[in-house]
Every structure is written in C-alpha cells, then in structure tokens.
Assembly symmetry: D3
Homo-oligomer: 255 residues x 6
C-alpha cells in the first residue's frame, strides 16, 4: 500500500505540515497539495464541500506527493466509510468527547476484527494499491478531535482506545466550549493550560498530537511546543488575506 | 440598470482594481469579490472553468459589491453572448489583433442596431434589473486584449472602432509574441516601449487602459504609469504563493 | 449582521411570504427569490437537492432581497451546521415531535453557551458580515416542524424550549399521521382543529406560527387566520401547473 | 428508431406543442416534459445550460413521452453534433440568414452522403435504438431560425435547401433586427407582415413552420394562423410569473 | 403506478438479474440499464456517488426497461426517504443486524400507517405516476442486507418483520464478519453454510432471497441454488476487467 | 517536464496502447488508466463530456502511470488551448482534411514562435512541472485525425506540416466518407487500401501512425500491421459488452 506520510514522518520523529482545504475545487486542492504539504485535509465539516466535490479533490490530491485526509462532518460511520472508500488515508473526526465516541470512531475506520467498516474500497484500491484490503487497517490514520471540555476531561480514556492514532486539537471550539470567544491561539490561561496538558498526555502515550493554527508562524510555534502535526491556516482564510493584500498594495499606487 | 463599477470609476477618474478568477469555485469567487475589488473577472480562457461553473461564479459575485466581468476563451460571439446573458457586465476578449476583430467583438456584445447580439438576457435581467434590454448597450464594458504584435500594430484602428471601451494588455502573450519569454513586467525595452505606447494611445482616445500584473506592487506601478484598470495577479498564483509561504513558515519551527 | 427578514417582519407585526425551492437550480432559485418573497427555503428534505446544489442556491439567493432558509432532511446536527455555515439564516427542521427533539435542534443551531454548534462559519461570514460569530445566535431563525400527532401533543413543551423561534406546520404529514390522506388544506375536522390549536398556542407564546400552503389563495387564508409565515406552494408544483396550463391554452388554438 | 413526435404529428397534420427549457435542471426538465408537450427544447443559446447539464436534461426528458430537441448556441457544427450524439432528436439553430448557413446546418446534422456529421452516436444509440446509424438522417428534425432581416430576405433560398425540415421564427430577434424593440407578438405592421409571409412561404413548401410565443394564448393564436410548431413561453418566464402571482395572492390575505 | 420488475418477476417465479452501479455517471447508468438487467441498483454505500449524481442516475435509468433501486450508505431514514422521493423503487439497506433494524428500515420506506416516511414524493410522482401516494407502500421493495454474524443470527426475527420483502446477502462483509477474508463466493464451510441457511429460511417465508455475486457465472450458480435476485458483479470491477483484457489482447500483437 | 509516454515509447520503437474515455466520470477514468494503458484519451468529440468533466478526468488520470490525451470536438484553437492548459499532454484532432487544417492545429498546440497558443498553463504547470513553459512545445503530441477522403488525399501535405507528430485514423468516419457504412475494421478493399497507404506514408515520414480499433484483438492486428498507437475499443462499448455478457451468463443459471 502507498505510504501514508503522516505515519512515516511521525515514525521518523519529524513534524507533519498539513494543509486545510475548505474551497470546494479540485484545481485548488491539487495546486495546494503541490506546495510542500506532507498531508492535506479535505474539510467536509466546515468546508463548502459535499461528497462529489470531496471525491474530485481526493483524486486531484492523489497526483501530488501529499497524503489526503478528510474531516467528516461528524462521527457518522457511514460517511467516514465513504471517504475512506474514496481514497482518504486518514480521518480527523470532529467532536470526540468520550471513550465511547473514540471506540465508535475506530469501529468506523477499521475493518473487522478490529472494527466494523464495511468492505468495498472502490477508489481506495486504485489509490492505495492491490494490498489495500489487508493493509488498510495498519495504514489509515485516525485522529480524534479534542474540542470540547468533555473531550479534554476524558482525554486519558480517549487516548487509551486502541486504534486511535492521536488527537487533533480544535482550538476554536475548545475555546468556545470553555466560555471564551473562538480563537486559534488563545491567550486565556485556562485554554492554554488545557492545550498544553493535552499535548503532554498525548506525547506520553506516544501518539500523534495535532492542532489547527492560524498561520505558518503559529504553526511553527506549535511545532516548537512539541506538536507533531500542524495546520497553518485554511485555504479560504489565506486566500482572503492575500487577495485583500493585493487590493491594498494596488491602491498604494494611487497618487 | 445596476451600476457598472468599471464605468463609474473611470468616469470619476479613479482607477479600477480588478480581481482575477481562475479557480472554478463559486465560494472562492464570492470570497475574493468581498476583498475590495471593484470588479472581478471570471477567466474562461486560461481558468479551469466551463459554462456551468462560470454561471455559479457570476451568481456568487452578484451578492458582493464587485462588478462581474468575463474573459471568454476567444472571440466567439455565441460564447460571449452566453456570458452576457449569464450576467457578466463586461467582456475582456483575448487576441484582438485587427479592427475587424474589434468590430466582431462589438457586434457580439451589443444589441442591434449597434451590434448583432441575440435577445434573451436570462440572468442579465435578474442581476441587471428590468431595464436591462434598453440599458445593456450603454452599461456593458467591452475591452479588447492587446497581446500580439499584430494587435499592437493595429491599435490605432482597433481603438477607432465604435463600441470598444478600451484595451486590456496581456503582457505575457505580448512578450511571447514579440519573441521573448512570457513575463508580466518585462524588462525588455521593446516590450516596455510597446506597452507605454499602447497606454499613451489609449489614453489619448479617452478610453480605458487595462493591464494584467503579477501582484499588488506591480499593479500599483501600473496605476502610477497611468493605467486605469489593473489586475494584481490571479487567484491561483496568489493562493499557491501564500500556501507555499505557510509551509515555509511552519517549517521554521523545526529545531 | 445582515438583517433576517423573518425576524424583522415578525417584529413589525407583518406576515412573511416564504418561497419554497425544490428544483435543484441556482438560476431558478435566484429567479424565484426576486419575485417578492420575504424569504425562500431551500428544501433539502423532499427537494431534489444535495449539499453542492444547496450551496449554489444559497449563493444565488444572496444576491436578492430575500432571506435564505433551509429545510434539512432531518434533525441531523452536522447537516444543520453545514447549511448554517453555507449562509442559511434559518432552519425549518422536519419531524420535531418532542421537547428533546426541540432541544437538540436548538443545540445544533446555536453556538455555545446556548448550544453546541461547532465554529467555522465559512460562507456565513461572507453573507452575514464580520460580526457573524457574535450575532448569529440572535439572528438565525429556528422553526420546528409540527407534522406528527406526537409533535402536536407535545407542542406546549416544544414551544417552551428556549431558542425555538416558532413552529412550521407540515399539513401533509400531519394529516397522514392522523390517519387521513396527505392534504395541505384538509377538510377533516380533527386536522383543522389541531392546526387551529397549534396556531393559538404558538401565538400565545409570542412565537412565529408558520405553515405550508397549496398556493397563494390558501396562503392568504392562513394569513387571515393569524399565521405569521406562509409558503404559497412549492416551485415544482407551481411550475408543473403553469406549464400544464400553457399546453392547454395552446391546444385551444386547434380548430 | 424511436418515433420523433415532431415528424409524426406534422405528417398527421396536427400541431406540435413544444416546451422551452432554459432552467438548467434535469428535474425541472423531466417535470415539464410530463405536462403534455409533444416536444421540449433544451435552450443552449439563451438558457443557463452547458453541455453537462444539457446531457442530464436530455436523459431526464427521455423517460417522458416528449421528444427532446436542442437549440445550440449558434451554427457550430461540432456543438450540434455533440447534442445529437447526446440524444437530441432535432436542432433548432439560431441565426440562419443565408442558404449557405442552411447548407452548413444540414451538413452538421446529417451523416454522409447527405452531410458531414462525424460518426459516434453515444447516447443516440441508447435513446434512439440500434438502427440509429441508418435511421438518424431520416428521423432528426432540422429547423432553421429565421430571426434576422437577412434570414427573412433569403427565406426562399433557405427553404430550398434539401435537408431543412422547416423554420422556427424568433420574433424577438426579428423585431430587433427590423429596428423595433424585442417582442414576441409584435404589433408593428412590418414585423407582422414578415411573419405572415414567412409562414406562407414555408407552408407553400410543405415544410414545418414554427414560432416562439409569449404564452399559451399567443400559441393558440399562432396555431390558428397556421403555424405547425408553437412554443408557449419559456420555463423561466412562466415560473417567474406564477411565483410572482403566488406572492401577490398571498399578500391579499393581509388585512 | 409503474410496475416494479422485482415484484413482478418474483410473483411470476422468475429470477431477477440486478445490475450494480458504482460509477457515478448517468451515461454509464443508462448504458448498463439497457443491457437486459431487470433492475439496477445505484450503490450509494461503496459507490462513488452522492445525492446529486444518484438523482441523475435514477433519471437516466428511468428511460430504460430496468427498475431502479438504491443502496443507501446506511440505515439512515432521511437518506432513504430522499432516494425514494428521487424515484427509487426499492431499497437494499446495508447492515441490518436485528429485528429493530428491520423495523426501522420498514418505517423509513413506508408511509403511515405502516411506517413513518414523510410525504413529498417529488420525482417519485413523475416516474411512478399520479397514484404514487396510494400505491407506493405496496410497490416499493425493501430488502435487508444480511452481512454480519448478528444479522445471520437474528434472521428469523428480521424475516418476521412485516414490510420486509426479503434479504440481500452481502457475502464480502458476512465473510469478513465471520473472521475470513472478504470473498463473494467463499469456500469456507461456515460461510457457505450460513448462506445456504439464510437462503432456506428466506424461501421458507416466501420472501425474496438476493445476493451479490462476482460475475455472471457465479450469479448463474446462485440462481441454480435458489436465489431469486442476483447481481453479477459491479460495473467498476467488470469495466476494470474488460479494459485490462483489452490491453492484454492488444499487447499480444507485439512481435 | 513529466515524460510523455507516447513520445517515449515511440522513440523506443515500442507500440502505444491507448485507452478511450467517453463516459464522463473521473472514477471510471482513473480506474481505466490504472489497467496498463500507456495513454488514455478523453473524448470530448463523441464522448458525453464537457469541460468541467474533462478537467476532473484529467486530474484523475494524473494519479496513474498513464499519459492523458484529449480529443477536442473539432479544430477549435481556443478549445484545444483549454485542454492543454488543463494538463492534456496531447491532442488527437478530428477531421483534419488539408494542410491548412494541419497548420491551424499546430498553431493551436504550440507556443510562439512555432504557433500561436496563448500563455497561461494553469494545470499544465501542476501536472507537467515548473519547466512546462519552455518544454511544452517539445513534449506535447499532436496527432491529426485522417477520417475523410479529403484528408486521405491530402495526407502527403498534412504529414509535411512541421509540428504534426503523426496521424490517427478514424476508420468509422473514413469508411462513411468513402461511401460505406461506418466500421472500424472494414472489409472493403478501397477502405483497406487507404488505411494501408496512410500507414505506409506516415511510417515513411517517421511519424506516429495511430488508429482506433474495435477491441484488443483488432488492436493486436493493427500493431502487427505496423501501427504505432492503437486504441482497443472505447469504455462505453466495452462496458456495454461486458454487462450484456454478465446478464447472459446469469440467465444461463435459470433451469
């Protein structure tokens, strides 16, 4: 089976730079996946993307060196199965708040006897290769999003679930859930302490600690804190910013 | 009929900052059109965009303050008519090299008696308003792309064609056509002289002088040279750049 | 944040005329939203519409004075969140039969601390404006469809749930659920009594009473009964009718 | 090969009621094609429809008793061939102004030795049946749109072209081309005389005389004048009207 | 209401040959449905197909003699309702493991008083006919996929649920669930015995016994065993095979 | 720039097995491109494929070892440019009948100074690599379809046009153009002689001789005749055949 960069880099002790795709376009996905990201995540939760578009984006990413991951809209086993069948090499699942959630997530992502994923890996076979059926359980990365106070409180139990490869902190929702406004790099001591503690616990288990960041500088900071997988902003936000800057720079030419 | 920013700003003596859309996504189009651009151009020549996607993008832009323009794939009257029917308020037509080309372009964009545009302004009516049939000829902007040596040589005649509102220099193709490599802001004296001369001639006729630029700084430079309508880079190139920078900044966090 | 016509008109004591979109087409959506409807609802339950199409329709409606609402396929929090992120200013949720259902609906539609909506309002920000994160909870309209006998029996409790802005009677399903054939304006005394009682209870709470109607005349009748939000038929049914009439009128010309 | 209603009804001396599809939606197309139209025309000139959508609409119409026709965006042989390959049983070609135009149209629509249509009838075979290759030339209807003064002046020669089955008057463009505002049922004597004369000449040749009409009443009038094929308005206009009426009727309920 | 081939053939004691569609293309669907299949199933579980594409495929199949069925991604009542509204004449529901699952499935597929399906049969009416509302409950086929050990163990109870028309064995998942590798025609005695026993029990109840098979030969074998509905491979697998063979045969020409 | 298999294999004196894609589906395209084809051609002439779908198919093929080619609908320079910009590594252009046609084809496919292709290789850069602008002229394969008697008569002159890499015989249209029924492997001596002569002439010029074939056996025969590039049937025909066979084999199980 084709190598999963997330696994390979983590095994080598190297951080993973993960791109975030919320614009529903195969061309944008392909273009971004060529910019040096180790993995890219098709965001089917907050992204403006349905199944047909996600499929096209996964195909587009498949022609690049980047590994395709998907964030489903929720812990919906059938939806998760479909994204895996469509060739995603990993799932970043929102709103995992209990060990039961984590077990359900593993069940959705792994074939029996580990889980209950139904068999029929259409595009998975094409992208992954002929040994997909026997290798998928070992190759697919499963990350639980920790983004609620409950998720943080139950983190020990979540991390203990076999088949969970790591966590992915959703700082906006975590902050909101703790009673603050949604921010990626919160200055609130409570939020900062929770993120630090989540990082420590995950590293202690030898699992992957991932987190969403505002941009490249914030991602660099998270890497230096010890996070393994970082997302330096999403495509829409960065596109908005660079287009706004282009307008501003242009107007500077007006006498 | 709804105001065309290109016309309004030109009449006020103010430059027009025009965004360039080559990613086939209504969401990206809408997002970009909200960043302060006076107009945005759906690029159906080099953009990865067919009619269905262009329609969606025109609809998305319609909910923003930006005026939607389209670059068709070529001087194809039926195609141009369809983009106008779909609500485009202007046409930036590639490869206008002769006065005959310019006349054909006007013929495609204007209703009789000025031109031969067929009547049936489906979405034009919705976006433009009930007076579209009588006001379209006066409201729609027609720009001829000058991007070949022939186009440059025939510029006087092209500018003399009634119904042509101005030009839009395609510096990549012009440079290529003159025997140099494709560049937006060429340092070749021949190319620079041609662009300056085209600007001068167009201004002398009181028509709009537009040009594609690499980015905001280049656009500012073109405005200071006297260009009226500038495009500070396209969405794909700028997205590529900002995503590449995000990767680089992230990697800076690796010890 | 952009004004929600449903809220504004209700506050002013004026009825809301709501269009119903079941044809999956951005052009049809835009065209309909321009005909004077205060709001239009993209029907993702019985309409022939998936997420990608709903997104396009919401964008198309955004360029009109009409406020976009969505009916999701069911009480699925992740789906509801996605339609809100895509810019819907309200949810008309099918099959709300208990106070628990109503609470789950509010939880899906409101950010913490009121509910558990996850943060990431992609298109919401573009359509709603920069204050979307702080204003969305107060601006988005949440209507519970009362269309089962259980829903009718539990109406008092449903109306008592904080964050529910009102109800929307589904007369077809209500009739069917009570043992009669599906009809919008039933002549069955039991059904009529239930609808009247639901109206009375909702008005008593000061909440919005909405209802689906066969056509404009039926809608006028419901307004005169005291309903606040009425839907005068759906696009497919009305299009079917007018096209059938065009055929009939044409045939009248045959000697 | 499956029967072409246009041919069958014309041979029987009965008029053809033709629906007009400008909304790009397979569902709307199917719904309309079920309302009693003998044929329906997918309008790829002024309709908001690209090839992919036209294909879906042709498939949707194929499940109804109505015969599918297409209006291409212009006299483009490759485009016409593609719509025929996609299963259209007729072409209503815009802007036929000379006998040369008419000959080029026949050439695009007919296989050798009559014309130069390239062989590869993908969906034509599925919809038409196994004898499509040998029967298509005899079964497909070719109508030339007469909608310019030139087209009217050259009508005799156009009608003389073998392989042209008839004409289809575009009254909006004809009116515009004659110097009047675009109207379907013009009261201008010049326009009325031209339409009458075109009808007379076409009937004299035993060919099909078709025309676009504002609505069913206008279509009935045209039938009584002797037109064989009438279009009682387009879907978008009729949908707009019926939706506007639904709003008006609803508002009548406001005290 | 239009006849459901599955019901008709089963009543006549004749087997049903069912095609399997996992390629998301209306053209492929139409083409396949013309090859003699009694029914075809749009696979929205493992197929690369979202709602929009499924709708197009159902429309395409509607123009053929084949009856359209859908496999939803899971036992999701709202999703099932949508496919029925879109014109599917049957549901093959994955992972039915208990009598409760079977009851929920019936509830999703049948209108009151039998089930709880919400009323609004958009395309169902077009494809099925005007009596759809009263005939759908009797015409739509509901098959429960038996593909887990639990499903097999609870088969008696599942078959006893009123409204379940039969079963459809998923041999890949059943095999996997029993601890073996996924195979359609397993040689494992345990799996073979389970399939035989499921067949026997289903026939004893007079219900439809269906099964997925690797290809036509395997399907012939299952028919001779007594299965009523067989699927001779899926489109993707068969296309893969025939294209691989074309390459191999071509290479045989290389000296 | 990424290697073009057509060029590489031809240079090595090895035949090229080319797949043919007429089903508009990225999944089918990807699946087929994985079956050992050296190249695959997206057929935008007779295939049921518009620009948006072709783009998706080109992206899907890009993740396989197969080289993507496109057949445009006709000799339309703007259309050809768009497919090249979208990443096609070759053009098989229909209906090249004169040296002028051939020159126009080269002009459309090559950048100045060889031709007049406009600069803006969006996806070409992503798929081809950063040196695309300077390497495209040398890497892109241009094949002229010889499929009319005129094309055959002018073959000498067509082959003499610089920038034409070879021919691709369209035996169906050639046969039809010569007065026979459309067949891939005609038994008519005139047609057979023309094909042999075209092969001889092309080989004499050291250019690529390609041809469409009914299936793998026919392709093997053409290779043994000396053709360099063969297409063993198209996807739709082969899928039709294999699905029909699956039905037939299944029915063999009926006692």
């Amino acid at each position: 089976m084709r190598t999963n960069n997330v696994q390979r880099l983590h095994a080598e002790g190297r951080p993973i730079i993960n791109g975030w795709l919320s614009i529903g376009s195969g061309y944008a996905a392909e273009l971004i996946a060529h910019q040096g990201f180790d993995s890219v995540t098709v965001d089917c939760q907050h992204g403006m993307i349905g199944f047909e578009t996600a499929l096209v984006m996964l195909q587009a990413v498949s022609s690049t060196p980047s590994t395709p991951l998907v964030r489903p809209s929720c812990l919906d086993p059938a939806q998760i199965m479909r994204f895996l069948d469509a060739g995603s090499f990993g799932i970043i699942c929102p709103m995992i708040s209990t060990a039961d959630d984590a077990r359900a997530l593993v069940d959705a992502c792994r074939y029996p006897p580990i889980g209950g994923r139904s068999f029929g890996p259409g595009r998975g076979l094409l992208y992954g290769g002929a040994d997909y059926p026997t290798s998928a359980n070992a190759t697919i990365t499963v990350l639980a999003m920790i983004e609620t106070t409950a998720g943080f409180e139950n983190l020990e139990a979540i991390l203990a679930v076999e088949g969970i490869d790591g966590i992915y902190v959703g700082p906006n929702d975590l902050s909101l859930s703790m009673g603050f406004s949604p921010t990626n790099e919160s200055s609130e001591p409570t939020v900062r302490a929770a993120i630090s503690e989540a990082l420590r616990m995950t590293r202690a288990k030898g699992k992957i600690a991932g987190i969403f960041c505002s941009d490249g500088d914030a991602a660099a900071m998270r890497i230096s804190q010890g996070f393994h997988l970082v997302t330096p902003g999403n495509d829409a936000t960065l596109l908005k910013r660079v287009m706004g800057q282009a307008v501003a720079s242009s107007r500077a030419g007006i006498a």
